[in-house]
């Protein structure tokens, strides 16, 4: 990747930089935080941020940028931090990523930007995510940089509908409002943010950050409509033909919980991760009865799965007061798709891990509530098509454990609603919408991106897909004007 070297503000000699230790993230103490829903990570101090930034050796070939799906100009913003220009650093990031306070918190940096940081080859990688979070938070607290630098563009008179307010939809909104289009975001739920509000818990991503991001977009002119289900309240065809939308972006997410299809899965106390987390996050079930939505408070909870969703669910169960909250995962810890930090935090908070185990049945009492799980032990065989070693049940290894809550976190499929109501839009055999590199679907003027196209992925990949679609949509809208002129 070609990249102009940024102006260096780093006064620390090259050799010394290698000896600076990676700055630790200040965090809530594990015994305290496992009883509250406040954010675990407290954020670097300005002093720490500058020291961490000084660790960057300003590579000629900054591979870190290649590791970032939206190619944030990482060395540039790091140099601005060295110069203590935190707002400038935030603006630099915002050129490529409109939601840095979120990505800095939830990106799996260890497999993206930080994995390929040159410093990481011999030492620890520069803490790019922590720096990103730091400057984004700083900018939010000290005047919202992105809003002040926003100049309202001339109106094109063209209307864009964005369906879904997850990271993909928000990224499209942010890019297209800059182009002078009239942008409306339609959301099925009563809050905006997609998985960021209903899935990822407050202790990892405070909802206030999302509210601020939405408020900023609103101030720039984006219209937000909640409680509006495209396909039900109005179809895509109606939005285009009757409401005059010239283009539509579908950022619907992968919101269909998968179950395991084993006996006892519909017992009381057996949840999908989506339900458990939605009750807790979106509906604030952890504040019941002050908030109205009830939620099980288990003594012995097991969570089936090994991804971020499973970690969020198990840490939530712990915080709700479980004596024992256990991850049950059919492979070994090495294969776990969750972010390292989440696994590490979960362990600190007292979460147990039961790896190479898979439930095969849930057992109930007379009231129909789950009281036990029948499980099998597994061993790892040859790699499967995901490249990970395939778990194989061990014969005669069956055992039963007492549980009073189960959360199934084995992944999500795609919601079939749009496909059902809009047959023009082609889907594949997994129900994902088929879209090209730039998000074009089989229906003219309709684009799609994020989890609904890729299947469950990451926040930054969803945003990246949104940004690509935004470019293509803008082009499409321009040709539409030309053709009608």
């Amino acid at each position: 990747m070609k990249h102009e070297r940024p102006q260096s503000f780093n006064t620390v000699p090259m050799k010394e930089r290698l000896t600076i230790p990676r700055q630790a993230m200040p965090e809530q103490d594990a015994t305290v935080r496992s009883t509250n829903f406040l954010e675990v990570n407290l954020g670097l101090t300005p002093e720490q941020a500058v020291i961490e930034a000084q660790r960057c050796i300003e590579c000629k070939n900054p591979t870190c940028m290649e590791g970032c799906p939206v190619s944030i100009k990482i060395p540039d913003f790091i140099q601005l931090i060295c110069n203590q220009d935190f707002i400038g650093a935030a603006q630099k990031i915002k050129e490529d990523n409109s939601l840095p306070a979120i990505c800095g918190r939830v990106c799996p940096q260890e497999t993206q930007c930080e994995e390929v940081c040159v410093m990481g080859r011999r030492f620890e990688p520069v803490a790019i995510g922590r720096l990103e979070r730091f400057v984004a938070d700083y900018a939010m607290q000290h005047g919202n940089g992105s809003l002040e630098s926003f100049e309202k563009p001339a109106s094109t008179g063209q209307k864009v509908a964005i369906v879904g307010s997850g990271p993909a939809g928000l990224a499209v909104a942010s890019d297209l409002i800059k182009e002078g289009h009239e942008v409306t975001v339609f959301e099925a739920l009563h809050e905006f943010g997609g998985v960021l509000v209903y899935g990822i818990p407050e202790f990892r991503l405070p909802k206030e950050i999302l509210r601020q991001e939405v408020a900023t977009l609103e101030a720039k002119g984006v219209k937000f409509v909640k409680n509006f289900i495209v396909g039900r309240t109005m179809t895509i065809q109606e939005l285009m033909a009757e409401e005059g939308f010239d283009a539509v972006f579908l950022g619907l997410g992968a919101g269909l919980p998968r179950f395991m299809n084993i006996p006892g899965e519909n017992l009381n106390g057996v949840y999908s991760a989506n339900e458990f987390l939605t009750r807790s996050n979106l509906m604030r079930g952890y504040d019941f009865p002050e908030w109205d939505t009830p939620l099980y408070r288990a003594k012995h909870a097991i969570i089936v799965g090994g991804g971020n969703t499973a970690m969020d669910a198990v840490r939530t169960a712990k915080r709700l007061g479980a004596d024992e909250a256990t991850i049950v995962y059919r492979r070994s810890e090495e294969e776990m798709p969750a972010r390292n930090e989440e696994i590490h935090h979960a362990k600190e908070e007292g979460v147990k891990f039961m790896n190479l185990v898979n439930p095969i049945e849930f057992i109930s009492n007379e009231q129909g509530s789950v009281v036990a799980a029948k499980c099998l032990r597994m061993e790892l065989g040859e790699p499967d098509d995901s490249g990970r070693r395939r778990p194989i049940p061990m014969e005669g290894s069956e055992f039963i454990m007492d549980v009073d809550m189960v959360v199934i976190a084995v992944g999500n499929g795609s919601n079939p609603l749009i496909a059902q109501t809009t047959p023009e839009i082609q889907t594949n055999k997994w129900g994902n919408i088929v879209a090209d590199e730039d998000g074009r679907t089989s229906m003219e003027g309709v684009f799609a991106g994020g989890d609904i196209v890729s299947g469950g992925a990451t926040v930054i990949l969803a945003m990246g897909a949104g940004r690509k679609s935004a470019i293509a949509m803008n082009e499409y809208l321009k040709t539409k004007v030309r053709n009608s002129a």
Partner: protein, 290 residues
Amino acid sequence: MYKIIKAEFIAPNVKSFILEAPHIAKKRQAGQFIILRVHDKGERIPITIADSNAKEGWINIIVQGLGKTSAHLNTLETGDHLQDLVGPLGLPTHIENWGTLVCMSGGVGTAEALPIAAAGKAAGNRVISIIGARNKELIIAQERMSEVVDEVRISTDDGSAGRHGLVTDVLQDLMDEGIIPDMIVAIGPLPMMAAVSNQTKALGIPTMVSLNAIMVDGTGMCGACRATVGGKTVFVCVDGPEFDGHQVDFKELGSRQKMYKQQEEESHKCFLERQMKKMKAEQMKEELVS
């Protein structure tokens, strides 16, 4: 915020609301429902759309005060607002000209049966409505039902109106009179729908029931509303709410409906206590003023 154009009690503890909802009014079909939240810390509850007017942009819902949320909802008056309102949700009822359609409803289920009875009539069926209630006072929407169907029959548990007995007894009466339904729709409390399904299975009459599972989002995202129908798991909010009554696992659904019984009672109690305090405070104010 979503405006309540009109609110009035139509039976003890049962309130009818006209809500401003132009988009939903335009789109909704028989059998569909909405999800609402009363206030900003409220839970999401599903309620069937009993009626609507696309031209005037309103929908009608009829709510029985059961627990915290429905009781709170029923304290709202004309001119008040709901926090959230989304819909129409669920699949529309599959309607065809079967011949003779019998709509059996219990309690507030009659409100949910109304649009289906009307659509059945419009499709050319002879429609007979059987309304059941514990007593005379609790019968709702009888007049509105008589306007859309060919005949209404009533049963009450205590004999204070219509036939003394259950809706299943009235169905038996019909059969004894030689009226054989080609299709039955049963909507009401779970035990009632289970009893009807049981009866009609033996008689071999196809029966549709509307399942009232506990829901959260209502869009197929969470799976809270799952039920077993024909041995397969379904999501009531998107695959239903109507299913073949002969295939439904009523026992499972019954225990799933009680999943939060204890918590709901606690929450309802808190609410009632708060209401009492409010009433007492108002009383004291009045006494001070006078």
